[in-house]
Symmetry: C2
């Protein structure tokens, strides 16, 4: 049941958004085609399109082919008629970008971070936003931020982000007051999921999607019927801190044996180092090197058996956890993203094999596991797009300068 | 985005359903209160209520109290104005019932089953429905069935129910043709979840709910925003066949170490028997008894340490799996149902303790784990109610005789 009565005004907005979404979903489309797809009358479509053109959101871009009769005028979204800012507050660097309505990154800045306290992290966010705003893209209609940790999106509060030393930080409110723009805060894996869903490899045809983001930490983002599902407390997809090995290693969350302690990029670096220390006689191409993920990737590609072993173990643990995702949700498309995706198809296969072994076969057989298309950009694009996903009103009530 | 244009007719139906839902949700309610809750005008509410009364769905049942002025007439759902049939095809018996619009069971039949083949199981379904239909409750508006196994609800097909020997059985189509009534088929755990949601302990205030049904097998039903979530293939909630112990026992699904092999009622009986056989010297009150779940329950209540151990192990494995549910969905209310619920609060505590140990603390702390209110009736009520949950049109287009 929808919660409220339907009014004439709601119907008008609904139909406007329906037309706009149809134009969003096509490179170019004619009014007649829009009418056919939306089941609205030609007259209603023409009226709405006229409004969208007067708002500068839609353009006439040429003529389509015709089967006899007049060639139809083609409409297209005016990609650069509005801009959004997206931020990805990653473990090792903060990245910010100006994005247009087609999800094209127009400008990008990044700052490496190291041991920031909470106040420094917040100041860096202001600094990035200041820089991006002065780039002169106009009109800017909103700011979207993907951050690690637990987020209350509705209230715009970062409940707990250990790495950034943020507790109950009303980030959206602070930024809205400062910049006079709507601000949306999301968990970074949830933002990444929206990014892959909207701008990745044709996922929107499926309506349901799981994105598993394997970086320093591990989180998932879940889209159900085209909308991000955040759970009752914003923590849906927090699979990184489920205990998968009772006798496992201490996790930064205080428990032992969380998925993150085995399958994350951080765990892989620690484990590789540990194996070298414990077995000085064993062959490793990285014996005298500073070990980081890039170095392990090189070793892995050169056939280093120790690297292969570590990546295998990490992938297998992740696959077993993904079996749980399949059992719980039976969503048939699962996308892997994050730093660990650099280990590519071999890693995906380790994950897939373990996933199949631990899953109810009938469900797993119909599940497609693939690597994401957008790397770090998914989080930026998702954070900026999320404000528009359910509600196009931002496009119409432009901020005053 | 809603998928289709909004029309005047849709608005009318939407508003009618909104009024009806409001009356459903109250024992009694006045027209003025309905108008206040729905934000519809008094005139619209009066018009809709007149229609509902003429359809026999709503009754005027007396006068409410008034703060000065005329006492308002109270409206109530006419609980016995329509009937539904619900079936629960359980492991050891088939149960069928006639249910009214308030979820009250008016009549109930049950048949113990033992080693039925697929055709016999189907014939028994016909037999139960024949019996219930001849009880004379009128009008009957639909049949809902909860069955173990994987179900394609949209097509009304039981894809795979091992116990019943059904493969790709178009059960809804067969029954609709035979009885000329709409038929809905659901996985039994999904049906149970709907039953608990609609008729259990005030769960609807939460909109999201997980019900974990622990019987011969184990399955969950997930309600998201008040609607059953079935996943892409109908298998959402199939947590019983996720491998939780790689060196575990053979499961009926062909894998080893599925959750069902440790935490189900069936597993508990097998494990208890096995422990007695393996340790003849150990104390057990059931040494010379036929071991079934009822016997273990008695022993458990008498303090039999072996029974306690077995129930503890089963509960702990279930709790660890529920930690995964919390990590994936962060739904704050989880209800336990099924045969294992006979072990009551001690079992719930075993589950809860393991759940807390394996969960991300911040999410688990806000999760409430409780035992269901409706026992076997939840499946029957949910199966029958599911047809109405999203769409009240069944109430208005009555079957012709």
């Amino acid at each position: 049941m929808r919660p409220n009565k339907a009014t004439h005004q709601q119907t008008k907005i609904h139909n406007r958004d329906l037309v706009l979404k149809t134009i969003f979903d096509h490179d170019t489309v004619s009014r007649a085609e829009v009418a056919r797809l939306t089941k609205l009358t030609r007259a209603t479509v023409s009226e709405i399109v006229a409004h969208l053109i007067s708002e500068g959101l839609v353009e006439e871009v040429g003529y389509g082919s015709s089967i006899g009769g007049k060639s139809p005028i083609l409409l297209s979204l005016a990609a650069n008629s509005r801009y959004l800012i997206g931020l990805n507050l990653a473990q090792d660097k903060f990245i910010g970008a100006v994005v247009n309505l087609r999800g094209e990154i127009k400008d990008l800045v990044e700052f490496p971070i190291h041991n920031l306290d909470g106040e420094q992290a917040l100041q860096l966010v202001y600094q990035i936003l200041d820089q991006l705003i002065t780039k002169g893209y106009h009109p800017l209609i909103g700011i979207g931020i993907g951050t690690p940790g637990l987020v209350n999106t509705r209230e715009g509060v970062v409940v707990n982000a250990v790495n950034l030393d943020w507790q109950n930080l009303p980030l959206a409110g602070l930024l809205e007051a400062h910049y006079n723009l709507p601000v949306s805060i999301l968990n970074d894996s949830q933002a990444t999921a929206i990014g892959e869903y909207v701008y990745g490899n044709d996922h929107q045809t499926d309506r349901n999607l799981i994105v598993v983001n394997v970086k320093h930490g591990i989180g998932a983002g879940i889209l159900i019927n085209g909308r991000l599902f955040q759970g009752d407390g914003g923590g849906a997809g927090e699979i990184g801190h489920v205990v998968v090995r009772e006798d496992g290693k201490l996790c930064r969350c205080g428990k032992y044996g969380c998925l993150e302690t085995i399958a994350s990029a951080h765990a892989v670096v620690l484990r590789y180092d540990e194996m070298i220390q414990a077995n000085p006689a064993i062959y490793s191409s990285l014996k005298d090197t500073q070990i980081d993920l890039a170095a392990i990737e090189t070793a892995f590609q050169q056939g280093d058996p120790l690297a292969k072993q570590v990546i295998y173990e990490a992938g297998a643990a992740l696959g077993a956890s993904i079996a749980n995702l399949i059992g719980v949700l039976n969503i048939k498309k699962i996308v892997l993203t994050g730093d660990m995706a650099r280990f590519g198809e071999p890693w995906r296969q380790f994950v897939q094999t373990a996933m199949m072994q631990s899953s109810f076969s009938r469900l797993a057989e119909n599940t497609k596991l693939e690597i994401g298309a957008l790397d770090f950009r998914a989080c930026i694009l998702g954070a900026s797009a999320c404000m528009l996903l359910d509600d196009y009103s931002l496009l119409f009530h432009l901020p005053t300068e």
